[in-house]
C-alpha cells in the first residue's frame, strides 16, 4: 500500500474553500424551492451510491465475514458449518506453526521498520542537505524497486540467493570468502533475515523519496542560523530536521507497519512459500494457507481476526508512543 498524502492544490488557488459550497450547499438551500432540494438529494445519491455499494459488497461484508466465520468450523465449500465459539482461538495457542508465524511477523516488522525508517531518514537527510551531484539519478534508481512487482522481486532475489550460481555466493567465492557462503533461503534460521533484506530493498527508496520531499520544504534559514551557531550536521538533523518532519514520520510509520505486514506475506508467498518447513511463514501467509489451500476456513479466519487485532494494536501503540506537540516552521 502507498502511504497517504494529500496533493497540493493547483497554483493560484486559495485554501479557503469551505465544505459547504454554494452549489447545492446548505447556504442556498433555503432560497431554492423544495424541487431543487429533492434534485440535490437525487444527485448526491446518484453520485454516492455506486461507490458505496461496491465498498459495502467487496470490503465491508468480507471484513465482517472474517470476524463472523472465526467462530465456526467450515471447510469453505461443504454445507457443513458448525458454530464452535472460541475453539479456533484456543487451538491457535497450541499451534506451533501459528506461534512461529507470529514470531516471524513481529521479528520482520521490528527489523524491517527500524532499518528502512532509519536508513530512509538518513539517506533523505544527506541527499537533501549535501546536494549530491547526480542525486536525481540516485533517486531514480533507488525508487525502482517500488514499481516492480513482488513476483519480480522474489525472482530477482532467488537469483541473488541461489545456492550454487547465485550472485551473492559466487561473489563471495570470487573474493575467496567461501566461508561466508550460505544457503540463504534454505537455512531455517537465516531465511527470515533473507526475506527481511528483500523487504528493505523493496521499500527503502520509497520512504527516502517521501522524506526527501518533506525535508526539502524546511526553510534553509534554519540551517544557516544553526550553522552560524556552530551546530554539526548530526546536531542539525536531530534538532531541526527530525522534529520538523515528525508529524509526517508518524503517519508514514503507521502505514509502513501495515504495509509491511502485507508485504511480508506477498514476498514469502512468492519467494519461499513459507518454507523450509514453515520456518518463514508469516501471519497472513499462514492464514491464506489454512483458509484457502488447507480448506480450514474458520480456523484461517480466526488467524485473520488476530491479524486485524494485531495491526490495530500496533498502529495504536506506535501512534501513542510517538505523540509529540506538533511543531511549525
Amino acid at each position: 500500500m502507498t502511504t497517504l498524502s494529500t496533493p497540493t492544490p493547483p497554483p493560484g488557488s486559495t485554501n479557503h474553500a469551505s465544505k459547504s459550497a454554494p452549489v447545492g450547499g446548505s447556504s442556498r438551500r433555503g432560497t431554492r424551492g423544495p424541487a431543487r432540494r429533492r434534485g440535490n438529494t437525487r444527485f448526491v445519491l446518484a453520485c454516492l451510491l455506486p461507490a458505496l455499494v461496491l465498498f459495502a459488497v467487496f470490503m465491508v461484508v468480507p471484513t465482517m465475514n472474517v470476524f463472523r466465520m472465526s467462530f465456526y468450523t467450515w471447510s469453505g465449500f461443504s454445507p457443513d458449518k458448525r458454530f464452535v465459539g472460541l475453539d479456533n482461538f484456543s487451538r491457535l495457542l497450541d499451534d506451533e506453526q501459528f506461534v512461529r508465524a507470529f514470531q516471524n511477523t513481529v521479528a520482520l516488522l521490528v527489523v524491517v521498520t527500524v532499518v528502512t525508517m532509519g536508513m530512509g531518514l538518513f539517506l533523505a537527510a544527506i541527499m537533501t542537505r549535501q546536494r549530491l551531484r547526480g542525486r536525481n539519478l540516485y533517486r531514480f534508481i533507488l525508487y525502482i524497486p517500488n514499481v516492480l512487482s513482488v513476483v519480480v522481486i522474489a525472482a530477482v532475489f532467488s537469483a541473488v540467493y541461489d545456492q550454487e550460481n547465485g550472485l551473492l555466493n559466487s561473489t563471495l567465492r570470487l573474493l575467496s570468502l567461501d566461508g561466508l557462503q550460505q544457503v540463504w533461503l534454505g537455512d531455517q534460521k537465516l531465511v527470515v533475515y533473507s526475506v527481511a533484506i528483500a523487504m528493505v530493498w523493496q521499500s527503502l527508496g520509497y520512504y527516502m523519496v517521501l522524506y526527501m520531499a518533506s525535508m526539502s520544504s524546511i526553510p534553509e534559514e534554519l540551517y544557516e542560523a544553526s550553522a552560524l551557531d556552530g551546530a554539526s550536521a548530526a546536531r542539525q538533523f536531530f534538532a531541526i530536521t527530525l522534529p520538523l518532519i515528525w508529524q509526517n514520520l508518524r503517519t508514514t510509520l503507521t502505514f509502513f507497519i501495515m504495509s509491511a505486514v502485507n508485504l511480508s506475506f506477498v514476498l514469502v508467498r512468492a519467494m519461499t512459500g513459507g518454507g523450509p518447513d514453515g520456518s518463514s511463514e508469516v501471519l497472513l501467509s499462514y492464514m491464506y494457507k489454512q483458509a484457502y489451500t488447507n480448506s480450514s476456513y474458520g480456523y484461517g479466519m480466526a488467524i485473520g481476526v488476530v491479524i486485524f487485532a494485531f495491526s490495530f494494536l500496533v498502529s495504536l501503540l506506535v501512534s501513542r508512543a510517538t505523540r509529540r506537540e506538533p511543531l511549525q516552521f
Partner: protein, 293 residues
Amino acid sequence: MTTIKSSSRPRRGRALTYALVIALALAIAVPVAWVLLASLKQKSEFFGSPWTLPKGLHSANYVHAFVDAHMGQYFLTSVFVTVLGLVLVLAVSVPAAYVIARYEFRGRRVVETALLAGLFVNVNYIVVPIFLMLVDWDRALIDVFPGGFFIDNPSVLSLVYAATSIPFTIYLLTAYFRSIPVEYEEAAAIDGASRFRIMTQVMLPMARPAVTTVILFNFLAYWNDFIIALTLLPGEGKTLQVGLLNLFTAQKAAADYGRLYAGMVIVIVPVLILYAVIQRRLIEGMASGGVKG
C-alpha cells in the same frame, strides 16, 4: 548549503556519502540489470559463474516465454484487467469524492468515517472471504451460468480491484476537491450549468493532478498484484504476474532459467519505461503531501 568547504572533515564525509549512496544504487541496479542480461543466455551458460556476459543474443528464451509459456496472452489479460479496473474505480470514485467534498447531506460524516476505516483494511486480509463470496454467487446462479460467472472472470477481477481501492481513491480526490476554490463552481452555476456539468466539465479538469496521481498508484497496484489474481482466476486465463509466478515455480523444479528471466523482462520493461516517463509526476504525487498533510 553553507558548510565550511575548506576543512577536510566535511570533504571526507562527502566522499563517504557518495560511497554509501552509490553502493546502494548499485545494490538495486545490478540485480535488475543482471536479469535483463541473463534473459539472453543459453541454458548451458547458467551453470558456472553468473558474472559472465551472454555469449550472443539468444532470443529463443523470449519465444519460449511468449509462446510456450503464454506470457503474450497473459500480457493482454493484464492490460485488460488493469485498464478496466482504472475505468471502474474512476467512474465511481470521482462523483462520490466530489459530492463528499462539496455537498452537505445527512450521513456524510458516517460515510467519510467508514471510508477512512476502509483505508486500514488491506485487500489481502479479505481475499479469501471475497473468493468464497464469489463462489457462493456462482452456486446461486448455476442455472443461468452453468460454467460459473464470477470466478475466472477477468472483468470481475477488475471490479474487485476497483472496489477495494475506493477508500484510497476517494480519500485523495476528496482532499483535492476541497482545496479548489468554490468560485469556479459558483460562476458555472450562475451561467446555468447543471450539477452534472459542473462536476464533469469544471471540477474534473481542475482536479487533473489528483486524478493522475490516483491513476498512477492504482495502476501499479493492479498491474503488480498477484495474490488476488491468483485466487480469483484459478483457471487458464491468468494475469502476467501469476504467469511469471508459475514460470518461477517451474524453474525451481526444472532449472529452466532462461525462460524465467525472459518472462521477467517482459514484466519489468513496460513498467520501467512507464516509470522513466512519468517518474517526476509519480514522485511529486506521492511527495506533495509533505509535512502539512
